[in-house]
């Protein structure tokens, strides 16, 4: 698939700049676009349980965001170093940026040093195929630098909010550079309503890196991906396989869950696995392990949009997003939600 095809039309003002709770609204007070079989329905997020049925399985990501953005002093002046993927305490993939609202790449030479607080950080070499990312080695554990100097990663379209803004009710294991945001609107009452319907919930873990990659290669499939630590437990693998065997739907809450379950998928079913994945779920590969996705609205020419196109095809994405634009839905992590299902509730 040509990267140039991974686009849609959207006016520039369709971005949620702040989380609903900042204005005293509930987190679940957002809209829900439901796309099933080429049809779109407009709903509120609180209606989510009515689109699911007993025997369906929601899979959630238990990873919690860490304050991964740190001020750094470089040869080029004061910059930001946003951590992305942890290999070990001293070695991460990181993104040096001019500022939260000004991306790189910076004119960095391999081996160049930075100072983060009292720590010396050395940018070893570029990540192959993704020139804005670097292998970063610190003489002090990054974990302690984050605790001391870290702030939540944010970009130009929104302010920085308190750290708990970036948590969901499933956040349990710190490690993501950015919030896995799809579960943000799931509140206790939504969860109780889901469980009352007979929908079960199972966890995976995937520590997500810095924002959805802009695809820079001429073809979508040619884009380099960076790895992310993940695990699927035996219990969750069993729950997914039993749901499928019983004719239920497995619905991923967020693109991170799709990546984890597809990475654990074999033609015999989903198996327990732990490691790192850089699997790129795109229309060429398709989806096998999941029957639905609850997610936000994604930017053009990103790996997240390619993942959505793996469910809907690019024409299906454009059709859904045209509807979302027409009806005034809001994009990004504090915006509205989109539920995509391969098939509707049994009637």
């Amino acid at each position: 698939m040509k990267t140039a095809e991974l686009t849609f039309d959207r006016p520039p003002d369709r971005v949620a700049h702040e989380p609903p709770e900042i204005r005293g609204r509930s987190r679940d007070d957002v809209r829900l676009l439901v796309t099933v079989g080429g049809e779109h329905r407009h709903a509120r997020f609180e209606d989510l349980p009515s689109f699911l049925a007993a025997g369906d399985l929601l899979v959630v990501n238990e990873s919690a965001a860490i304050p991964a953005s740190m001020a750094a002093e470089s040869l080029h002046g004061s910059i930001l170093l946003n951590l992305s993927t942890r290999f070990r305490s001293h070695l991460w993939i990181a993104e040096p940026r001019w500022a939260f609202d000004k991306p790189g790449p910076l004119p960095i030479q391999p081996g160049e040093g930075l100072k983060v607080g009292a720590a010396h950080v050395r940018l070893l070499s570029e990540y192959p195929g993704i020139p804005r990312l670097w292998f970063a080695l610190s003489d002090r554990p990054f974990d302690s630098l984050v605790a001391e100097h870290g702030r939540p990663i944010h970009y130009g379209y929104t302010a920085e909010w308190p750290m708990d803004t970036y948590e969901t009710m499933f956040s349990r294991v710190p490690g993501s550079a950015e919030m896995p945001s799809a579960a943000r609107p799931i509140t206790s009452r939504i969860r109780e309503a889901l469980e009352g319907t007979g929908v079960r919930i199972a966890p995976i873990l995937l520590h997500t890196g810095v924002s959805s990659l802009e695809i820079e290669s001429p073809t979508v499939e040619g884009q380099a991906m960076y790895p992310e630590p993940f695990s699927v437990t035996p219990e969750t693998a069993l729950a997914v396989n039993r749901t499928h065997a019983a004719g239920g739907r497995v619905v991923a809450v967020g693109t991170t869950v799709v990546r984890a379950l597809e990475s654990a998928w074999t033609p015999e079913g989903v198996r327990p696995v732990a490691g790192f994945t850089r699997m790129f779920v795109n229309p060429d590969r398709g989806v096998h392990a999941v029957d639905g996705l609850l997610t936000g609205f994604h930017d053009p020419v990103t790996s997240h949009l390619a993942l959505l196109a793996a469910f809907l095809g690019i024409d299906g994405v454009r059709d859904a997003y045209a509807e979302a634009v027409r009806a005034g839905y809001l994009w990004h992590e504090f915006g509205d939600s989109h539920l995509v299902l391969a098939r509707a509730n049994p009637t």
């Binding site: 070990r88 081996g111 050395r122 192959p128 790895p227 696995v273 732990a274 790192f276």
Partner: protein, 246 residues
């Protein structure tokens, strides 16, 4: 004086370090402060590689020679012994044998012997000779393998059979050395734009293959794992998923 970075007391021995994958991996480790022992048959290229690695701030010992030569291997082990430990042994030097690659049934006995000498007997001997140093460091042995080991591709029989033997040696050594705290893995780096790959496809355009830098994320990952948790595994460096057995 450079600030102390990361793990300065780690020592790595990489064979076939003058170019291609070995040189890229050595450069990555040099920037992380590893003490390096590098070796290759081509002394001129090796010296250039050694100077380049030293400029990145790491101590580098460069020893020219052939891993099928016992006296040369002794010099490599002696160099590691001066540091008192060996944290990482990468058996990367490989021999393609006669080119253009002959069909297996037409390969000469000399060709087979030479390829097995460098690709199988040399690595096993290096492990044997470096055992005390590896044991002291709870070291990791990485044997560089190839998809030719399992492919059955026409023309790749000599090289592939040697790598298949190396795969079995890796698995067996892993099982035998586990109790001594030494880990052994096999790594298939995948197709890359290297001189060896070009030698295998004389006159063909291989510019669509990625440069060996494509494997750096894998090395960053592998060398951050607890070696005992991955010992006995065979990894593909360019794969989408790198798994730790659970």
């Amino acid at each position: 004086m450079e600030p102390d970075l990361g793990d300065p007391e780690r020592v790595a021995l990489i064979t076939g370090t003058s170019r291609g994958l070995g040189r890229v991996l050595a450069g990555f480790l040099a920037k992380q402060g590893y003490g390096l022992i590098v070796t290759a048959r081509n002394g001129v290229e090796l010296n250039a590689a050694g100077a380049d690695l030293r400029s990145r701030g790491s101590p580098v010992v460069s020893v020219g020679g052939d891993v099928s030569d016992a006296a040369h291997r002794q010099r490599l082990v002696d160099a590691a012994a001066k540091w008192g430990r060996l944290d990482l042994l990468v058996n990367n030097a490989s021999e393609l044998g006669d080119t253009p690659l002959p069909p297996l049934a037409e390969a000469s006995r000399e060709n087979l012997r030479r390829v097995f000498d460098v690709n199988v007997l040399g690595p096993i001997a290096l492990v044997r000779e470096a055992l005390p140093l590896l044991e002291r460091a709870h070291g990791l042995v990485v044997n560089i393998t190839s998809d030719a080991a399992v492919g059955g591709y026409p023309g790749w029989g000599v090289y592939g059979a040697s790598k298949a033997a190396l795969d079995l040696a890796s698995k067996t050594l892993a099982a035998e050395l586990k109790d001594r705290g030494i880990a052994v893995v096999a790594v298939d780096p995948g197709d890359m734009r290297t001189k060896m790959h070009q030698d295998a496809y004389p006159g063909q355009d291989i510019s669509d293959r990625p440069l060996p830098e494509v494997t750096l994320p894998f090395w960053a990952w592998l060398l951050s794992q607890d070696p005992m948790k991955v010992t006995g595994q065979r990894f593909q460096a360019q794969a989408a998923v790198w798994e730790v057995p659970t």
